[in-house]
Symmetry: C3
Subunit: 117 residues, 3 copies
């Protein structure tokens, strides 16, 4: 079983595919809107759509999601975007916890595991 | 390879099955006993038993476990329940770290990945 | 599909193999050098090399990595070791977040999922 990687850097690959399963890196916003976790979430979910498409998957085929918020106060703002983005009947297993992220400007980080369709 | 989901809500599915692997959501206690991480853990593990059974798996077939404690002071109380619950010789890969959870009443959250038997 | 475990204790197994995928436990340093996250990371990565080898895998076949730092101030020290250790072109999906660990002496914890080669 081969391993396919996309957007490979020294530190991490954004997309890794193996045995019908897609492993994304933890995704943060590209140009994080200051103190706007909702906008950051929207940007992250758009990026995830792109990465999943490159891997032959999509948001209807997610298996698990881990969501880190730098402050749990962002829970509702994140969920508003998340709930609207997940296709009805296709929600993954999800865990959402509070952890500080690599830089203070990042308020939200999301990691997805998905199935190749 | 199909994806089977159980206890599907808009935000998350409690159980997702794909390619012989079961992905549970992060599980918290149903009616969290205030300030009793041991009791919360016991309730979580009972829920996990039920979800794994629905997925055709069980606590002897766990692959990995992630345990979040809202305060690492709960480590011993959680472990007392965990160690007694895991069948001898069947422990999964495990990581246990401190993160605040979705609401202050939750002291423990556990996510399991397991094999379909 | 069988489950193979290595270094099995009551609480966790360091290595679990199923369906061509290796699940390691969250690994911390064996004798953590006080306040030296770089040295702790180097020790962890050496341990991961050993565990992956026992599982029929290696650092060129990682699928995902989760890195917890007890303080994000350790980010650069950890990355210096990590970046030098990952074979070029083989980086896994990675997430790195801040969480306190099981004991204050631990500054870094790393969990790897990898493919059996």
């Amino acid at each position: 079983m081969t391993i396919v990687r996309k957007h490979v850097r020294q530190r991490l690959s954004q997309v890794v595919i193996h045995n019908g399963t897609v492993y994304l890196a933890g995704i943060v916003a590209d140009e994080p809107v200051p103190d706007d976790p909702g906008a950051q979430t929207a940007n992250i979910l758009k990026k995830i759509d792109g990465f999943l498409a490159e891997a032959g998957s999509n948001r209807s085929s997610m298996l698990s999601a881990t969501i880190w918020l730098s402050d749990m106060a962002y829970y509702d703002a994140m969920n508003k975007e998340w709930d609207a983005w997940v296709p009805e009947g296709c929600a993954p297993g999800r865990a959402c916890v509070e952890s500080k992220l690599a830089a203070p400007k990042y308020k939200v980080e999301i990691r997805i595991t998905a199935a190749v369709v």
